[in-house]
């Protein structure tokens, strides 16, 4: 099976719940997906002035600690607030056409917005963002199609509006990337 996906859990979410997320991704992308607990040294990415974690630093750290090949994808789940230097926040970051990505549940959870907790909604949003960042690691750009999972989202409501699936064009590109 080409491009096995390894979901590395560095968040407080239980592995059991992530197994169901992995299964969904497995079915969506047709790739083998594994889930494992992962200890990530978050401190090195912490910016005390912003009280946020630099996602680029985290990706660099993951790549330095895990032996990876170009033929696999590593996607790490964290629950801290992520940023890249010029942006106020990001839900996640990926190496475009690369190996690693990171996704945070911090701003995906209802509690962040002062709304009642909704676990299934959180997992749904997380799944969409995992597929989205994985798409970037396969070289997919943001998509203009309203419901495509590769559409850029800067509000959590926008994540809720899009589907978990790829549009026809993005699916075709992903298929070509996996099989060529």
């Amino acid at each position: 099976m080409p491009f096995p996906v390894h979901i590395l859990n560095a968040s407080s979410l239980p592995l059991a719940e992530l197994e169901s997320v992995a299964e969904t991704i497995r079915q969506l992308l047709g790739l083998s997906v594994s889930v494992a607990q992962y200890r990530l040294e978050l401190e090195r990415a912490f910016d005390s002035s912003r009280v946020q974690y630099n996602s680029s630093v985290l990706i660099a750290h993951i790549l330095s600690t895990i032996t990876s090949s170009e033929k696999q994808k590593l996607i790490t789940i964290v629950d801290v607030d992520l940023y890249i230097p010029v942006l106020t926040f990001v839900y996640g970051e990926a190496q475009l056409d690369g190996t690693a990505a990171v996704v945070s549940t911090h701003r995906l959870a209802n509690e962040f917005y002062g709304v009642e907790e909704n676990r299934s909604l959180l997992l749904e949003r997380l799944t969409k963002e995992l597929v989205h960042e994985l798409g970037h690691t396969f070289g997919l750009f943001h998509c203009k199609q309203f419901e495509c999972v590769m559409r850029a989202s800067t509000y959590v409501e926008e994540i809720d509006l899009k589907k978990m699936t790829l549009c026809e064009e993005c699916a075709r590109r992903l298929f070509e990337k996996i099989h060529n």
Binding site: I84, V86, L87, T88, E93, L96, H136, F141
Partner: protein, 447 residues
Amino acid sequence: MNEHIALLIVDDEQIVRDSLTKWFREDGYIVGAAANAAEALRLMQEQRWHIILLDIKMPGMDGMELQQRIRDIDAHAIIIFITAHASVDTAVQALKCGAFDYITKPIDPDHLSHLVSNAIKQRALAMENLKLKEQVVEFSKPDEIIGDSSQIKKVFEMIKTVAGTDTTVMIRGESGTGKELIARAIHANSQRRYFPIVTINCGALPEGVLESELFGHERGAFTGAQYRRKGKLELADGGTLFLDEVGNIDMKTQMDLLRVIETKQFTRVGGNETIKVDFRIICATNKDLELAVKEGTFREDFYYRLNVFTVSIPPLRERKSDIPLLVNYFVNKHKRAMGKDISSVSPEAMDILVQYDWPGNVRELENAMERAMVVGKSCAITPADLPFQLSERNNEPQSGSLADMEKRHIARVLEEQRWNITHSAEVLQIDRVTLYNKIAKYGFRKP
């Protein structure tokens, strides 16, 4: 997808360049990054950037100064300033400079997405508008081509028809009919009007000089060529090349020009560099080129390449109804220039002007009117102010066969004597029966 949109990030902080590059690459943009003004200007020369994110504070040339230089290279690039500390002053200054907007670090991802998306829409609209303006060529009648006759109206129609196309035009007409004015009118109403119209009088330059005038030359190409010089072909790039008196071009230059027309490229005299050009050709001639082709002095292939669309300007004697309009136009033109108080032409003077055949065409008429304005003393031009040969020549039999001359002379006498046969016969010094015979022979009818 944004794969065709090129976005340039100019910021001295590498982390900002890297972050934004990554962010926009995910969005599918073609992304470039520059750490300073020099690098940005170099990248600007290499390719077109549709959107430029420009940091205001940079060592050396700051963003405000750099955007002026960018504008010189590409007036349509959309500039969005990036600033670490926004203030009202910064915002006002940025927008006064013509920036699309400004954004403050750290950038809100939603704000950035919307800003760039709006910038793209605005640029697309601006470019569409520009394209439409280029396409919609409103025909404007050239001010200096005066006339209301059916013949000149036909010429206007032809200019209107051909101006919007890129077709090669050959303007034919006698000397002084205004061939260059027609060429300028076609250019002024064409899509190339924002580029120059370069005129070269092929008849005025000796062989060899014409070649250098057209193609330019490299330094040292011949004695006296101390500097590299661009030729008219290069100067006309994007616009129109008007070859006046094209019938006078020597055979070798005809062949060279034909090659340029076919390949759109040439080399300067004494040079090796291939120069690509794009211009429209309009040419003019008063020669019988068909005869020149038959006689072997004009290349047939060159003739067919030039003679795609012909505009023929009628001589002034064939559109006499335009003479009063032209006369009044020249009176007003020279009145202003000379500051004289002459504003009309007496009916007698106008009659002479209309009757004259004007072998030198409009140019001769203008010269005559200029002279009349100089010598005129009253508030109207009188016959006395007109050049002597005008009224004299009208009274002289005109050239042609003897029968033609007789016909014209009898017609004029009959008109002058108001068809009084007795008086006309006396003036002509022939008897009345002979005059009746002549009237019958020439088919004259009493008006």
